[in-house]
Symmetry: C2
DNA sequence: GCGCTAATCGAAACATGTTCTAAATTTTAC
DNA sequence: GTAAAATTTAGAACATGTTTCGATTAGCGC
C-alpha cells in the first residue's frame, strides 16, 4: 500500500477509535463530529472526506467492534436451527450486556436523519454469516422447498433490525431485547421451515413468550 | 370545552394542516419547524408548546390522514387470514400510490434523531385494528393455541415497521414495498398458525417471492 | 531534488431542532 | 370590570451535521 493510503488508513483508524472512546465515555451526548475530530487529532473536514457522514463512522465502529467470531465458534456442534437461535441470543446478549455502549451506538446507526442515508447497515460479512446459517438449514432439509435463501435472510435481518429499532426507541426494555428478537425469529423460522421442525421451534416460541409475559408489558413497537 | 382549549385545538389543527401542506408541496426539504410555524400562522415556540417536537407533529399528520376505514370495509367478507393480508396490501398500496407524500412523512416519523423519542408511533386505533384481526383469526382457530395475541400483534407491527424503515432508507424500491411486507407477514403468519392454514399462506408466500425475484435485487435491509 | 497532485487544514457559513427570555395578549375567576 | 393566570409571541441563542473555500502540506513520478 502506498504511503498515502497508509496515512489515510491510519486517520480512519484514529477516527473510529475516537468515536468508540467518546461513546464509551459520554454516551450519546458527547458524540459530535467536532468532538470526534478533535479527539482523533484531525480537522472537522477530514471525517467527511474519509467517511462521508457521521452515520458512516458509527457504522464503522459497529462493524469494527462486532467480533463475535470467537463466540460463534461453539455454534458448529448444534442443530442447524438451534444454531440460528443461538446466534441471535449471542448477538442480543452481547448488546444487552454492554447497554451503555451499544444503545448509543445503535441509536446513531439507525438514525435516518440525513438525506443520503444509503449507508449500508448490513455489511457483507454480516450477510454472509446469516446466509451461511440459512444455507446450512436449507441443505439439511429444514427450510421449505422453493423458498429463496436470499429473501429469507433479508426477512430475518429485518426482524433483527426491527428489534433493535424498538430497543433504541425505548419501546422495549433491554431485559426484553433477546426475547423480543427471539420471538420474531421463532415466528419467521416456523413460517419458513418444514413441519418436522415445528415442535422444536414452538418450544422456543413459547419460551420467549413466557419470558415476555413475565415482565411488565412492553410499549408498542415502532 | 373552554374557550382556551378551543383555541388550542384550533392552533393544533392549523399546525397539522400546515405540515401536511408543506409535505405535499415541498416533500421532505421544506418541512422545517420554522416553515410549519409560519404557514400555520403561529410563532416558532407554539408547535413546541402544543406538540413537543417535530416528530410528534409528523406522527399527528400520519394519524390524521390514515383514514383507511372505508377501504377496510370490504375485509369483512374474506377469510380470517386473507383479511390480514388484504389489510397489509391496502396499507402498502395506499402508501405506494402516493409515494411523494408518504415517503417524506414516514421518513420523518421514523426519525430517531431527538433525545426524547418516546413518541408512540403505533396509535391506539391502529393497535386495536390489528388486534381485532388477530383476535378473529384466533377465534376461528387459525392461530397456534397458547400464542399470546398481544405479542403476536406486536410482532406483526414490527414486520410492518421494518418494511417501512427499509423503504424509507431506500433499501427497497416502492414497487417492492407491498411484496416485502407481505413476505414478512406470510412468514410470521405461517409461523403463528395451525397446519391447516399453511397451504394457503404458502401460496401467498411464493406469490410474494415470485414478485420480489422478478424485480432487480433489493438492497440489504436495515 | 522538483514540480504536480491529492489530501488536509482552519475557519467560516448554513440550516435546522430545540430552548430560553421577557414582553404582550387573551381567557378566566371573582 | 378588573386582577390574576395561562399562553403566545418575537427574538435571540445554542448545538449540531454538513458544506464551502482558500491556503497549506505531504507524497508521487520524474
Amino acid at each position: 500500500m502506498s504511503q498515502r493510503e497508509d496515512a489515510k488508513a491510519e486517520r480512519r483508524r484514529r477516527i473510529v477509535a475516537a468515536a468508540r472512546a467518546l461513546i464509551r465515555e459520554t454516551g450519546d451526548a458527547g458524540l459530535s463530529m467536532r468532538a470526534i475530530a478533535a479527539r482523533a487529532g484531525v480537522s472537522l473536514t477530514t471525517p467527511y472526506n474519509l467517511f462521508g457522514s457521521k452515520r458512516a463512522i458509527v457504522v464503522a465502529v459497529l462493524e469494527d467492534v462486532r467480533q463475535f467470531q470467537d463466540r460463534f465458534a461453539e455454534l458448529q456442534q448444534l442443530d442447524v436451527i438451534d444454531r440460528i437461535f443461538q446466534a441471535v441470543s449471542i448477538s442480543m446478549t452481547y448488546y444487552a450486556q454492554d447497554e451503555a455502549f451499544y444503545r448509543p451506538l445503535w441509536t446513531e446507526a439507525l438514525d435516518t436523519n440525513g438525506k443520503e442515508l444509503r449507508t449500508t447497515l448490513s455489511s457483507e460479512r454480516r450477510y454472509a454469516f446469516w446466509r451461511g446459517l440459512v444455507d446450512e438449514a436449507a441443505a439439511a432439509g429444514a427450510v421449505l422447498p422453493g423458498l429463496d435463501a436470499d429473501l429469507l435472510v433479508r426477512s430475518l435481518e429485518r426482524v433483527f433490525g426491527s428489534a433493535m429499532l424498538s430497543w433504541v426507541l425505548g419501546a422495549i426494555p433491554t431485559s426484553n431485547l433477546e426475547a423480543t428478537a427471539g420471538l420474531g425469529y421463532a415466528l419467521a423460522l416456523r413460517g419458513a421451515t418444514v413441519p418436522e421442525r415445528h415442535p422444536a421451534i414452538e418450544a422456543r416460541l413459547m419460551g420467549y413468550q413466557r419470558e415476555l409475559l413475565r415482565l411488565p408489558k412492553a410499549a408498542p413497537a415502532a
